[in-house]
């Protein structure tokens, strides 16, 4: 009983609202507990019955008062009691988890798992079960790590402890040290990413025995629908800035959560990479007057803009973390030129997650992170950058512009701006090699990928993941099939 009370308290404490203080005191109330224990001990009632009976006893007392406000207190005691019943109940009560956590149980029926649902459930630890049990099969289907620990002592003290698990190895860590935590987090990111790739649908494209993944570059929900129709392995680049452009006011956090959630719901089992705001003085947004720069392409754009407008950036990060409970998105950051920038991004992400935690809003943390390789600096530092994240993505348009020192918007330079230039190809090859050495995923999401003439050369470098606009998916697929046959 005490354990159940503690559990309920833990749930209660999550809510900082003052009213819950009183509810918490009710839960701790010795008179309340005594009555329940008496009902169980002397009257031989079940715990659930005892709680409900006691709750009604107090609710009746409140309801018998002549004051409306006091009568309303009956709702508080019933609320507290239903929380207790929820904890006690092994049966049909609502089993949804109220906060993200790992469920530890002696034994679980597959039905229990289905009722709990995926939301907030991070993993399962059971004492009885086997990797071939129905429960395990179901957990695998739900993409949920599960560990069987026959010797685990399921004691009240487990509640509130930090648990970490490695479903692949069948290991459970109680209060792991920070290096173990880091290791496991990295492993998890990697696995999530691989799994998304494996979950891809449609035909498999190959080139020289390597599986080639074809993803789509999109900027709207309509684009995603088009990409799904055309058949793709996922979304390699979602340009989030498009929803900020061409409107009077900036979208607020809730609006963004709604928008990103809709996108994720369309792509439940395939990767979706959100690239954070890539704007600068060349792409003005209403509501923000950005100073004119002599050289916008070399100015405050991409991640630099985000660092200069952290409120806006963090609003977007919070929205992405919140929407992430609807799926498994990855986040990608544009215009990276140094490892320090990555550290700063991670710090801001941490802040965003902490703010959500404090606000008591649901969110998913530890999303796979990726960096755009679109500056020569990023190419030269590709290995160092790769060590910080789960994946890299070459933005060939900007990489060509910065490598060739040729403004891609300048018509006079149209014949100089050639993204098939040997220097650009060499930059790509260097990045492919760096990603291979560091063991991170790499994609290419620029115009170059849609250029069917450039495809043989690109695939020769060892690139296996290309992202193109939905309208080009068919043509690129056809070209790869043709190359494959040669």
């Amino acid at each position: 009983m005490t354990l159940r009370c503690e559990k309920a308290q833990a749930l209660c404490q999550k809510d900082q609202a003052a009213i819950f203080e009183a509810q918490k005191l009710m839960l701790e109330d010795q008179e309340f507990i005594d009555r329940i224990q008496e009902s169980i001990g002397q009257d031989k009632r079940t715990a659930v019955y005892a709680v409900l009976q006691t709750s009604e006893f107090y609710a009746d007392m409140f309801l018998g008062m002549d004051d409306e406000l006091m009568r309303s207190k009956s709702a508080d005691i019933r609320d507290v009691s239903s929380l207790l019943v929820r904890c006690l109940s092994q049966g049909k009560a609502d089993k949804k988890l109220l906060a993200p956590g790992i469920v530890v149980a002696d034994y679980l029926l597959p039905g229990d798992l289905v009722e709990m649902g995926r939301e907030n459930l991070l993993g399962l630890v059971v004492r009885h079960g086997s990797p071939s049990s129905h429960l395990a099969v179901l957990a695998t289907g739900m993409n949920l790590p599960m560990v069987v620990c026959p010797d685990l002592d399921i004691e009240p003290a487990l509640e509130g402890k930090t648990l970490a698990m490695d479903g692949g190895e069948g290991l459970l860590f109680i209060e792991p040290d920070s290096s173990t935590q880091t290791l496991l987090k990295e492993k998890a990111q990697e696995l999530i990413y691989r799994k998304q790739v494996l979950a891809s649908t449609g035909e498999e494209l190959c080139y020289q025995g390597r599986r080639i993944e074809l993803l789509a570059n999109v900027g709207s929900i309509e684009d995603i629908r088009q990409a799904i129709q055309a058949g793709c392995d996922g979304i390699g680049l979602f340009r989030t800035e498009l929803s900020f452009l061409g409107r009077q006011e900036l979208p607020d956090e809730d609006e963004l959560v709604e928008y990103y959630s809709q996108c994720l719901e369309l792509m439940p089992d395939r990767p979706l990479v959100f690239r954070t705001l890539d704007i600068g003085s060349d792409k003005q947004i209403q509501g923000l007057s950005l100073p004119q720069e002599a050289n916008p392409a070399l100015g405050c754009r991409g991640i630099r803009f985000c660092f200069a407008h952290t409120d806006l950036f963090k609003t977007q990060l919070r929205a992405l973390l919140r929407a992430a409970v609807k799926g498994r998105p990855a986040l990608m950051f544009p215009m990276i030129t140094s490892v320090e920038e990555v550290a700063h991004i991670k710090a801001l992400l941490r802040e965003a997650a902490d703010e959500l935690k404090q606000a008591g809003l649901p969110y998913r943390d530890h999303l796979p992170l990726g960096l755009m390789i679109e500056t020569p600096a990023a190419v030269v530092l590709a290995r160092e950058l790769a060590r910080e994240v789960s994946f890299l993505s070459i933005g060939s348009n900007d990489l060509a512009q910065y490598t060739l020192a040729a403004d891609r918007e300048n018509e006079a330079l149209a014949d100089r701006f050639n993204d098939r230039h040997p220097a650009v190809m060499k930059m790509i090859a260097l990045t492919v090699e760096a990603a291979r050495q560091e063991g991170v995923a790499l994609s290419l999401c620029g115009e170059l990928a849609r250029d069917t003439q450039a495809l043989p050369q690109l695939l020769e470098t060892g690139l296996t993941r290309l992202s193109v606009s939905p309208s080009r998916l068919e043509a690129v697929k056809a070209k790869i099939r043709q190359l494959c046959k040669q």
């Binding site: 009213i19 203080e21 009710m26 109330d29 004051d67 006091m70 005691i77």
Partner: protein, 74 residues
């Protein structure tokens, strides 16, 4: 006293304050005497403005407890 009576939040404050002391603290009102450790007992008394009550404090830290409680009374 608060014209609306002792409701959840002030009651919570009184109980929490009382819990901070070792002394035995009781509240007497409407012909009943309750330990100021049970929020349910306090709330089900249904005290309202105009009701008379007194609080007795007995124990090692009774002076400080009485003083602190007086300060948080609604």
């Amino acid at each position: 006293m608060d014209p609306l009576g002792i409701h959840a939040r002030p009651a919570a404050l009184m109980i929490k304050t009382a819990a901070g002391f070792a002394s035995d603290i009781r509240l007497n009102a409407k012909g009943k005497s309750i330990a100021l450790s049970s929020i349910l007992s306090l709330m089900t008394l249904g005290l309202k403005q105009g009701d008379r009550m007194n609080i007795t404090v007995e124990g090692p830290d009774e002076v400080q407890a009485a003083k602190t409680l007086r300060a948080v009374l609604p």
